[in-house]
Symmetry: C2
Subunit: 411 residues, 2 copies
């Protein structure tokens, strides 16, 4: 039996029956949805987000689409491209939206992440981490075989030679960029060694050098725009010198990529910089909201907050306390604390594996067992990585359910 | 071509080819392995753990089996049963081992966890969290339909009546236990309200009251056995009074369950206690290792450390520092710090999403890019929940690959 015509009775019907709306978004087979994913789509599309079982990962589609458009146009206005990092969203569907908006390509941190996205049809992928083991060289080279656009990150001569050998065996020429360290975490230190590595790579006929990566993870979350700008520009000085040296030697520099959501409006000041590896701008989270904007505001509001986790109140019997069903397995980190939408007086502790504990002195209403709350996550990347799907919400209604294509792909 | 006969050449062959050992453990179709899981089994069974791509979640099978046997026999010696909590392992295979060793049943925190384990053949499941929404009542009652052994946790009269209605619609009698709070997190406060709830439930013909739960999450990690014992026994006093009141009123008390790895050797002092919801004893982690044992030792060594995450060195170029490929997405928490096996002088920081950063003054050797390290995880439950599979290792060789059956099932 189909639902009645009025929106209210249709909503009631859907809530009561758990059945699909009349117009269900039916995915094509191309993305390899499992039967469970298909059932989830059919049973939730069209319902109110407040009827979802919790914990549920939700993204507001209006805000997400606005963020993609805003980032693309602001970078373009400064002469830069976007090469969004999939480590944030791990979703082929969101990557497709970013590419459709004009992104140069998509970044991945891990080879398994690239495998999953490529299997779901995303082919312009640039790895930002090296693959130093023999097995991972094989896996990465298999991706070059699948797509001529795949780009390997290299920071070590032995690894470059291993990749060249694998490319020769695969009878192809593989794209590579050198990963030049900003700070001490990953990459070859900026300086003569980095230039020498680029020269070595340029002499290996199976590798095609495309340029360099210079990601400054440490600068992204610096509070206060002025300090963030000064630090980011100082940190990347030595990398800019490597870029200049490569250019002088006639080596390829068509890619000079790095930066992120925190420095997207700073990177154009780096001479030769080509594109920014933005990620969190899609969603925003408690960490990024707190870094402040370029106008001196304490809230970083260049992008809209689109990502939330829905939770249910399980216990309300102790004064000034609520227990929810969203703990560490739903939110990962507990620092900074998750935010409760509409309840600035609440402190949310996700320190337990299965439960969230809210303490408060003031709340806008009294909460019953079974009531739902919406949470802003502490840090988006590891939270998204916990969920099999994300509910795409428009005006509080589930419009689409996307699989987290590369969920758990940390290898 | 099959590998040669000698173990050494067979190992070399396997490492080089990524192919299967001659004797591959082939799972039956019953557990619903995906094609990807099947490939993982075939490609890794028989190889050295040091050849696994990283990050990889590993469990030492000798230690795991010893821990299961030790816990079972020590609880039995005190007249208690084990009702191990699957929130720790989320694995149908490990649950089967626990049941085979004599466990009374298996606990789950979330209904989706119970669904996944029951679909994989585990049927004696007791939920330890309530399901207050209409949708979750439906889902939980579907599990009662599948197995007459399924037990619902209830802490609220409305929820009890909703469950009774659902049981009537399903034409069955559902097992329930009342969840009585220890502390303020979940459950109905110990006292008259809890007794009244038990009486209400006992008058609902569709529900069969079995007893009560009293889990003291806060006591499990108290450092020092004496303090842990005193606190745990004091915290549960009011719950023990509820148990006595139910008994006096002739209400069912065949289940009086709670406790965990930290208090397994304390719970028998609670009059009427029946079984302990042990979880982490299987694996041990940095949190539990630090709580101290009953003999006054600073290391809690009642159980063997069996769980590790393998990681690969990605960067060794900065003095006193190493970068690995195991960050927050491989280890979740950063407090307490992960331990590096065999390198007590190393401090491991998993604060980055994709990278681990080791700082050290002393190391037993110098580490090259591509070298592997073994990590003891900060806290086992949320780490296991990140991985699709766990490698069962015996004498450093992969013997079995188990799916994490309920990975990500936090609803």
């Amino acid at each position: 039996m189909m639902p009645a015509d009025s929106p209210a009775s249709r909503r009631t019907f859907l809530a009561a029956s758990g059945m699909a709306a009349a117009h269900v978004w039916v995915p094509t087979g191309a993305n390899g949805y499992t039967p469970e994913e298909m059932r989830e789509r059919v049973s939730t599309t069209g319902i109110s987000k407040w009827e979802l079982d919790t914990p549920a990962l939700c993204v507001d589609l209006d805000a997400l689409e606005a963020n993609i458009a805003t980032m693309q146009s602001r970078l373009a206005a400064k002469g830069l491209g976007a090469r969004p990092h999939a480590k944030t969203h791990k979703s082929a569907d969101i990557a497709r939206k970013q590419l459709a908006a004009g992104a140069l390509g998509i970044c991945t941190s891990k080879v398994s992440e690239a495998e999953a996205l490529m299997a779901a049809g995303i082919d312009r992928i640039c790895m930002t981490t090296t693959n130093p083991s023999a097995s991972k060289v094989r896996r990465a080279m298999a991706l070059s075989r699948t797509s001529p656009h795949f780009i390997h990150a290299v920071d070590d001569e032995k690894n470059a030679r291993d990749l060249a050998d694998a490319a020769r065996d695969a009878k192809l020429t593989a794209n590579v960029v050198i990963d030049v360290a900003v700070g001490t975490r990953s990459g070859i230190p900026a300086g003569e060694g980095a230039v020498a590595l680029a020269e070595t790579i340029s002499r290996l006929p199976q590798l095609r050098l495309r340029g360099l990566l210079s990601y400054d993870g440490g600068a992204q979350h610096i509070t206060g725009f002025a300090t963030r700008r000064t630090t980011a520009l100082k940190n990347i000085e030595a990398n800019a010198a490597v870029f200049e040296a490569l250019k002088r030697k006639g080596l390829p520099t068509e890619i000079f990529s790095g930066g992120g959501t925190g420095t997207y409006n700073i990177q154009h000041e780096v001479p030769g910089f080509t594109d920014v590896q933005v990620g969190s701008y899609l969603f925003m989270d408690m960490q990024y909201l707190a870094i402040g904007n370029a106008e001196g505001g304490v809230v970083y509001d260049d992008f809209q907050r689109s990502l939330t986790v829905l939770a249910t109140v399980l216990n309300n019997r102790f004064p000034g306390r609520l227990t929810t069903d969203a703990g560490a397995k739903a939110l990962t980190l507990n620092v900074p604390r998750a935010g409760v939408v509409g309840e600035p007086g609440m402190d949310y502790n996700a320190g337990s594996d299965e439960f969230g504990v809210i303490t408060y002195k003031q709340a806008t209403k009294s909460y019953a067992i079974g009531d739902k709350l919406e949470l802003v996550v502490p840090h988006c990347d590891p939270v998204v990585n916990l969920y099999d799907q994300i509910y795409g919400i428009r005006k509080d209604r589930v419009e689409v359910v996307w699989p987290i294509t590369a969920r758990g792909k940390s290898q």
